[in-house]
């Protein structure tokens, strides 16, 4: 029961959605639509689940006074504060009927001046790591890595004016060797070919994995309990 029902659900939902791709007539066309709608709503429940997990983990940390527990309070305050501002639409110019992220509402302010700088700065840290990785980790260890680094070099140079300055002497029939042109060629030709081969391979992988999931051959996602 604990395994059969989920397998059956996966099979029916998957098969109906595939049918819906080819049968536009009711009820199949509508099934496709309805299931997508259900999926969207369940996705929101997944956010709730994430929130629930978060509260559980951090409350436990505070209760047991684990390492760095005061910071868990920061997490909880941030979470509950943002949640209240959003759910109750505090300070919304249009009251409870207004758009949740209306300009001037507390929710929007928190978003603009807490969420945005935090998220953007986190990603900006990566620029520094790219720097240190290029100094310490990216080595021309073998032929493959060397080709990779040379291609990366041409692209990087081609996206700056220096590439043009370096090779502007190559004119006429040799102009295709100018670094910006070379960079565009790499993007449009070998890069495209490689991406396409990867894409076709992954598509086949996804197709066969989806088929195995629908047919219940692959069931790792259900875990191994109650075997």
């Amino acid at each position: 029961m604990k395994r059969t029902v989920p397998l059956l659900i996966t099979f029916i939902v998957g098969a109906v959605l595939i049918l819906a791709e080819f049968v536009p007539h009711e009820p199949f066309g509508n099934f496709g639509e309805d299931f997508s709608l259900y999926f969207d709503i369940i996705a929101v429940f997944a956010f709730l689940l994430g929130g629930g997990n978060l509260i559980r983990v951090h409350v436990t940390k505070v209760q047991r006074k684990k390492k760095d527990w005061p910071f868990s309070i920061v997490t909880l305050v941030g979470f509950l504060g943002m949640l209240a501002a959003g759910l109750l639409k505090i300070g919304n110019p249009d009251g409870i009927q207004g758009d949740v992220a209306k300009l001037g509402s507390l929710f929007n302010d928190l978003y603009m001046f807490i969420f945005t700088p935090l998220q953007a700065s986190m990603f900006a840290l990566l620029a520094f790591f790219v720097g240190s990785a290029s100094y310490r980790a990216f080595r021309a260890k073998n032929l493959d890595a060397t080709i990779l680094l040379v291609a990366a070099f041409v692209i990087l140079l081609g996206r700056t004016p220096f590439g043009l300055w370096l090779t502007s002497g190559l004119e006429g029939s040799l102009s295709f060797l100018q670094i910006p042109n070379l960079a565009n060629w790499i993007m449009g030709v070998p890069n495209l070919a490689g991406q396409r081969a990867i894409m076709i391979g992954i598509a086949l992988g996804v197709i066969s994995m989806s088929l195995r999931l629908i047919l219940g051959v692959e069931r790792t996602y259900l875990g191994q309990d109650n075997e």
Partner: protein, 420 residues
Amino acid sequence: MELLRSRIIIGITLLSMVLMFGSALAQDADKRDVLDSTAVRVGTFKKPVNLPIPAQLDVVEDSEGDAGSSITVSWLPSPDDGAGKNNVIEYQILRSESQDGEYVIVGSASRGMTQFQDATTTDGVTYFYYVRTISKDGGANSQISAGIQSSPQWFNTKDLDTFIIGLIICAAVIYFIYHAQKGKKFFLRQIAGLEAVDEAIGRATEMGRSILFIPGINDMDDVQTVAGITILGRVAKTIAEYDTKINMPVSRSIVMTTARETIKQAYVAAGRPDAYSDDMVHYLTDEQFGYVAAVDGIMVREKPATCFYLGAFFAESLIMAETGNSIGAIQIAGTAMPAQLPFFVAACDYTLIGEELFAASAYLSGEPKQLGSLKGQDVGKIIAMIVILGLCGLYTVASISDSVSLLDFADKIKGLFSAS
């Protein structure tokens, strides 16, 4: 019992697909009748002074293979389109529910276009259409079409090609899974990096240091995470035998439960269930950067001898691979995220590229159904290669011999392999 059920499922799937195919053919025949009886072809108009020569209505019909609510209007372009003094600006499509009723604009198409899909119709209502050709001097109308209704179809005939190709690939996968389950052995090539797995674990054992295993940051509904966990099963078997330490921080709670069960099974199979501990796998946080920061800390403090990164990775791939490199660990990575592959290839010792990750999981799991489906995927690749080879050949010959009929033929074949 198990086998019987999968056979029934396979049977039902194949049967339903055959039925759909049949209905598609029937639908196609139907379609042709409709086209002949309701399609409208209209004669030329006299050209008024200063106005553009109007476009002629070509075919007005119910849009093919949809859920209704749509009529397709197509026309032959005005001779003034793209040439002549009265250069056409656009075409407007007008509609009414009675032949001499009031016509309203339902849409427009830029010059050069010859088709418009009116997706705002109600099924069962009769509509009349005409096309107005607009130039800077004004508009000229085509003749009015005959009455037409939209209706839903039972099969999307436009997708017949997708359907058949999908059927072949799915059938190949099912066929090979079935035969693999019956015990047939298939050849599978070596995958670079896989041989290194045991060596890497051995090295960690000798040095008395731990192994770090990262299954990506997506949940169990991502195919790549599933592949990572399958590989974990094989890795866990070896560490259970060698008694190597493993540390596996994860960012999803379901991944945590699944990984714990997987490692536990390996220890039970090795006959040392008491050596297993739940602490081997621990949940950190769902948040991407919080997770990376914590993993980074673990790496610097514990200095694992070997790091595995197998699953779905995003921006964090770079940070992990760089830190791993700086502590001198052997790194084995694998992901189907094309944007992250370069960093792994440049900074790790071995990298499983894209589909190789899935292949590796099949390879290491040794499960026949997994190996069989790999063979089925190869059938897909053969189809792709043959079609590409054939089409490129046709186009090349057509281009060298400058033959228009050959080019048309090639275009027709190419049209069979088209997404829309």
